[in-house]
């Protein structure tokens, strides 16, 4: 089983790769659409500016990811990768997200510090394959300045300058705003759940 960690130049992917290695999963870091298309699972990581996702559009990676999702391949967006699964972000309005989840990502309001950095709690809502066995109120590690709205497919929220989506899930598509690879045993559990999903 191969997990493709999509490399589109948005930050450091070493720790995501390392996390899957630790779990004994076979993961590759790749920027080639052909390899993404062949993978049995796809991870879209990323930190930084939403404008970085333009690299997905121009490289053919967007089509490869969309194709994989359409075939039922489990796909996990992390941080910026999750925000890209929404329709858009006010950080770069000229770009389109995947629009699997409706709505626009927006910056935290001025009354709270941004980035939102540190360990914050999940409030679970509804059933979730990704969060199976993850207790309500678990702490996970966040670092981001923009956040996604709470939508119908939100399975966990977090509170910081208002509620936002911490985890979204629809069929074989999953998004997490926090960094599971940095979130201790809770994060490890979530990644194990993802590794255990079948096509």
């Amino acid at each position: 089983m191969t997990i493709a960690i999509v490399d589109y130049g948005a930050g450091n992917l070493a720790s995501v790769k390392k996390a899957f290695d630790t779990l004994g999963a076979k993961a590759i870091v790749t920027g080639e659409p052909e390899r993404v298309s062949k993978a049995e699972k796809v991870v879209v990581p990323g930190v930084g500016h939403f404008a970085a996702t333009v690299a997905l559009d121009v490289s053919g990676l967007r089509e490869a990811i969309e194709g994989a999702i359409a075939r039922g391949v489990p796909a996990l967006g992390i941080c910026l990768g999750m925000q890209w699964m929404f329709a858009s972000s006010s950080e770069a309005l000229e770009l389109d997200g995947l629009a699997i989840f409706a709505g626009e990502c927006t910056r935290f309001p001025a009354e709270v510090k941004a980035p939102h950095v540190g360990w914050n709690q999940l409030t679970r809502m509804g059933g979730s394959r990704l969060l199976n066995g993850v207790p309500d109120a678990s702490y996970v590690y966040f670092t981001h300045s923009y956040r996604a709205p709470v939508v119908q497919q939100t399975v966990a929220t977090c509170e910081y300058g208002g509620l936002f989506s911490a985890v979204v899930e629809q069929g074989n598509v999953f998004g997490v705003q926090f960094h599971p690879e940095k979130s201790g045993t809770v994060g490890k559990h979530l990644l194990e759940n993802f590794c255990g999903l079948s096509c």
Binding site: N12, T22, H49, A114, P115, Y139, T143, H179
Partner: protein, 254 residues
């Protein structure tokens, strides 16, 4: 609620931790990877590894140390000390660090901050400021491990670092460092209130009560400690329980 972070700091040189020989009764207490993992298991929210090597010979082992330590951690991991250029930062990220901490090199060339932030994101750049009180109202930023005055006002420098793309400020009070007499809440509050990015307080931790103070009065977002955690005088469990009893949100149990 967003919790206040407790960050364990390991000072390393030549691949060994220089402080912390009695921590958690570990036999090989001087190995950074062992210590980092032990801190993580005990409930530390993050690990900072500070390279205090004086010679190039000692420094060459750093990347190997970072690699070995990163492999054992599932929590955020920062590496600082001697990062002079984008290439140094890239090498440390490739070895598995999540953030780098820059200090002297950023004072010399402030453009380094945006240079790393543009490539790896602001969340990956911590600007460390060693501040020393020079008069009643004045705190100055010092370079080279506190040896060289820069003439820069610490608060102004923190604001400039923020504008240039720093994701966090690691503020060390040189007056309190190593004294165990408590954090300098005054400079911490001044800087924490004047920037819109998180501020990590450092220098002077001697008891759990000092952490309560720096969160309450110093408005710190996180606090860093070394010896108090290594020597087991205030175990992490006790520290976090004290904070929790004082009404400060912490990740506990974890």
């Amino acid at each position: 609620m967003l919790t206040k972070r407790i960050i364990a700091c390991l000072d390393v040189t030549g691949g060994r931790v220089v402080k912390g020989v009695q921590f958690l009764n570990l036999r090989d207490a001087g190995d950074p990877a062992d210590l980092a993992e032990a801190h993580s298991a005990a409930g530390a929210d993050e690990i900072v590894l500070l390279d205090i090597s004086a010679t190039a010979e000692e420094r060459t082992t750093l990347l190997d140390t970072v690699r070995r330590t990163a492999r054992r951690l599932f929590i955020p991991f920062t590496v600082g000390g001697g990062i002079r250029c984008l290439g140094d930062a890239s090498a440390v990220f490739d070895a598995g660090a999540d953030k780098v901490s820059v200090n002297s090199a950023a004072l010399r060339d402030p453009n380094l901050i945006s240079c790393i932030a543009d490539r790896f994101g602001s969340q990956a750049v911590i600007v460390a400021i060693d501040a020393k009180r020079t008069s009643e109202q004045q705190y100055e930023a010092f370079a080279k491990g506190g040896r060289t005055p820069t003439g820069k006002d610490a608060q102004a420098w923190a604001k400039e670092a923020e504008q240039r793309g720093a994701g966090e400020i690691l503020l060390t009070s040189m007056d309190r460092d190593g004294t165990r007499s408590g954090f300098d809440c005054e400079i911490t509050r001044r800087i924490a209130d004047s920037v819109r990015i998180p501020v990590i307080a450092s220098g002077g931790a001697g008891s759990a009560a000092h952490f309560v103070e720096v969160f309450r009065e110093g408005h710190a977002d996180a606090a860093l400690a070394a010896s108090i955690l290594h020597y087991g005088t205030t175990p992490m469990a006790e520290l976090k329980q004290t904070l929790r009893s004082a009404g400060i949100p912490v990740r506990w149990p974890c």
